[in-house]
Amino acid sequence: MSYLLTTIVFLPLAAAVICAMLPKDLAGAAKWVAATVMAFDVTLVGWLLATFDVRGGVQAVVDIPWVPQIAIRYHLGADGISLAMLALSALLGLIAVVASWKMDKSPGTYFVMLMLLQVGMNGVFVALDLVLFYVFWELVLVPMYFLIAMWGGERRSYASLKFFLYTLAGSVFMLVGIIALYLYSGPNNTFDIAELVRASAGGAFNGIQGWLFLAFFLGFAVKVPIWPLHTWLPDAHVEAPTAASVLLAGVLLKMGTYGFIRIALPILPVAAKAWAPWIAALAVISIVYGASVAFAQTDVKKLIAYSSVSHMGFVMLGIASGTAAGLDGAVAVMVSHGLVTGLLFLMVGMVYERTHTRQIAELSGLSSQVPAIGGILAFASFASLGLPGLSGFVGEFLSLLGSWQSTLVPHWMTVVAAVGVMLAAAYMLWMVQRVVLGEASEAVSRISDITAREVAYVLPLIGLTVLVGVYWNSLLRFVDPAVQGIVTILARVV
């Protein structure tokens, strides 16, 4: 019995309650509350990372009955994959708070929403009971809806509702799948993920795995998002405030792919293998489509949004491969994309704050006017396009390697996906050329360079991007043991 994960997950809830109760004239203190709590949260996650036994399986477990009548349990625990995602979620959460330091439009409510969002994000990655997982999964929707709807751009009303309805529609099918798993799980019906994996190995879901997989696929695929279910993403990203964009791209998208790795693959391995070629096909389409559409964008934020569709395609390709390299790669892309895209959105946010535009045509010559901002933006772009030595390369390389090794994914798909890497280099470099290099445009000509606070919150992301890129094992030593378990399960079924 360990209270560590419970504390990590629900600490932001305490911050939310405090922020909600602050009187109006003290609303400015909300950011201090949120920052303090998140700093503490990150410290706790750091402690968990430090004490984590990489070969020790699921750790920091808490498992008590919640609704015993239908076997719903409050069951939290973390393995290497969970831990990597939890660390990402907490770190980006802290950064999002610091990046919102100048928020002056009802700051109290803003930080309440940010903290509620954090509870859901942290919880999803450590929940080991499906109902609990679903509770956290849905908990994310409402705060994100309000972050976009109340603090967003011009078309925020449309974009926020679209985000909400798309994800809700996907997740209700997942709920049907969850209930069906429960009903078919044998004499001792259960929502527990580990027990469901055992039940599945015993043949409990034979014959209906395909339908169950479809239900979960719909829930997860909308969140990832996989083409053609991605259309909510560019809208939401463009309208969302910077911090919400960072968390949306950095953490929320990963919930979908995490769901595939944690739930769909181990519980429904037969269907996962049967569907693998189709998922790989959709992944490859996402990679190429996202990259191609990114070329045509005139708004930097929209360009990054479409690049996310493309990058998440690599995650799905790695997942579809079902190999150790592919799954390692998938998790590595998830982490790297969280760091790098977070950084990109932060830099675009800084530029927008200063110039009030995100149009590529109106921005140019950042490096001559604001060398630090321009330099970091260029750095993030290089990391995003998969330059070896930075984190983006690790995952994409492993994911492509895994899909080449896999017997489930046709070789030509890997080849097409590799073309996607080249496309990413092209649109990213083109963007850098237009925005960072060249003569300073009118909008850029009078702005000031990065502040100390801004340096403070981008530095951890830059550091980790380099660390993971140079020393792969810093990430993979956590991820790989957990991945091996899933590969074993997949190898058992034909």
Binding site: P65, W66, V67, P68, Q69, I70, V131, Y134, V135, E138, L139, L141, V142, F146, A149, M150, R156, S157, L161, F164, L165, L168, A169, S171, V172, F173, L175, V176, I179, A180, Y182, L183, N189
Partner: protein, 461 residues
């Protein structure tokens, strides 16, 4: 004598109703006294109902039996009525004629409480009428408003016709079994005539619950009625209605082939019609009327499964639906009935706006609120009974319903239009407390459902 002790909650409700009616002659003066008396009486009835608890004794011949499901429904009815009257006490001045409203609500609630324990066709019919009659008056409460009167008349006529149809069916059932006791009904030997009698009998209940295709009265009646009447009529009596349906279908379902198919058809029709018609409604009362049709569809789906767990899930859901929908109508009664009236609610009354959000999310079925767990229990049972596609449809409609519920959220949170000057609200603290209680219940009914499920004996497998 013991029999009278066991119906003490209803007797307390009756006494409070009479006391409230003659509140004017009491030494304490004031418009709100009646509502305060009613709220206290209903709260006492709730406590007594829980203290008496469930029993297997049949009272008054074979008329009444309060098993755990009945006790749950009767306690919930009394509790909700108490909260309703508390709110009324806070808003007495703007409602007007508080005395009458209180008395009518208490009498309707008393009928509903007896109805949830009814074990006899005759008593079932009488209590159903007792629960409905005051509702006609509440719907037409505003004597000067023609639309209100039209709605009330429509409600009255349709309700009467379906009651008579129900009576007709009951006559058949009596003829077949030779008894009016629910437990004694035997209709297996009569083939399709049994089905006809059963369907005729449940028509009355379906109409009171506003299930399609008997829902036509509800949008007009609600949109014409004052919102404070809708708050009561659209929520509280439905709990007992669902319990009665559980009883009748529980006895006849296994005996009559095809009854569950009828239920399933009505369920799907209600979900489809309710959810689609709710889109584009500008009047929150009308929107809630159609969404109510949809929610009854979900309930009937659980009943159509024909399992014990489905029945219990449906009754739980009836409560999980009644609490937020009543509270939403409280806010509507205070702010005005159209979506435009909700504009800028966040800046005017932030707490009411956030409470409204929680109520609407619960109706959508977002965890961890009451509506989510209600749907989880209900649809799990239905899925277990093999109703795969209807359940998938119901879940899909839950997502669809977010589309129209969020119309209200958008107005309340994003609407900027400065509202026209309105008479200063005469609401006092009691009204806010009532909404806060509903908020607490909406959160806790979900999170702490475990003990409740135990008491009711919910077991999926």
């Amino acid at each position: 004598m013991r029999s009278y002790l066991l119906i003490a909650p209803e007797l307390v409700m009756l006494a409070s109703a009479l006391l409230a009616m003659f509140a004017d002659v009491l030494p304490v003066r004031g418009r709100r006294v009646a509502a305060w008396i009613g709220a206290a009486g209903a709260a006492a009835a709730l406590v007594i109902a829980l203290a008496v608890g469930p029993g297997s004794v049949t009272l008054f011949g074979s008329m009444l039996r309060f098993d755990s499901l009945a006790v749950f429904a009767r306690a919930a009815t009394a509790g909700l009525t108490s909260v309703y009257l508390l709110w009324l006490a806070g808003n007495g001045a703007s409602v007007g004629r508080t005395r009458e409203a209180t008395t009518l609500a208490l009498l309707a609630a008393m009928g509903a409480m007896l109805m949830s324990g009814a074990r006899d066709l005759v008593l079932l019919f009488l209590t159903m009428e007792a629960a409905t009659m005051p509702a006609y008056v509440l719907i037409g409460f505003d004597r000067g408003d023609e639309r209100g009167l039209e709605g009330a008349l429509k409600y009255f006529l349709l309700s009467m016709v379906t009651s008579l149809v129900m009576l007709y069916g009951m006559a058949f059932l009596f003829g077949m079994s030779g008894t009016t006791s629910l437990d004694g009904l035997r209709v297996t030997a009569f083939g399709s005539l049994g089905l006809i009698a059963a369907v005729l009998t449940i028509v009355g209940l379906l109409a009171k619950l506003a299930a399609a295709p008997f829902h036509y009265w509800s949008p007009d009646a609600y949109a014409g009625a004052p919102a404070f009447s809708v708050a009561f009529v659209s929520s509280v009596p439905k709990i007992a209605g669902v319990v009665a349906l559980v009883r009748v279908v529980g006895v006849l379902g296994p005996q009559v082939r095809g009854l569950t198919d009828v239920m399933l058809t009505v369920a799907v029709a209600s979900m489809v019609i309710g959810n689609f018609a709710a889109f584009g409604q500008k009047d929150v009362r009308r929107l809630m009327a159609y969404s109510g049709v949809a929610h009854v569809g979900y309930l009937l789906l659980a009943l159509a499964g024909g399992t014990e767990a489905g029945s219990i899930g449906a009754v739980l859901y009836a409560v999980a639906y009644a609490v937020p929908s009543m509270a939403i109508m409280f806010v509507v009664a205070e702010e005005g009935p159209t979506l435009d009236d909700m504009d800028g609610l966040l800046s005017r009354r932030p707490l009411a706006a956030w409470a409204m959000l929680v109520f609407l999310l619960s109706l959508v079925g977002v965890p961890p609120l009451a509506g989510f767990f209600g749907k989880l229990y209900m649809f799990s049972a239905a899925l277990d009974a093999g109703l795969v596609w209807p359940v998938v449809l119901a879940f899909a409609f839950s997502a669809v319903s977010a589309g129209y519920y969020f119309g209200i959220v958008r107005s309340a949170f994003l609407g900027q239009r400065p509202r026209a000057v309105r008479v200063r609200s005469t609401r006092n603290r009691a009204a806010d407390v009532a909404i806060a209680i509903c908020l607490l219940a909406t959160v806790l009914l979900g999170l702490l459902a475990g003990p409740m499920l135990s008491v009711l004996g919910y077991a999926l497998r």
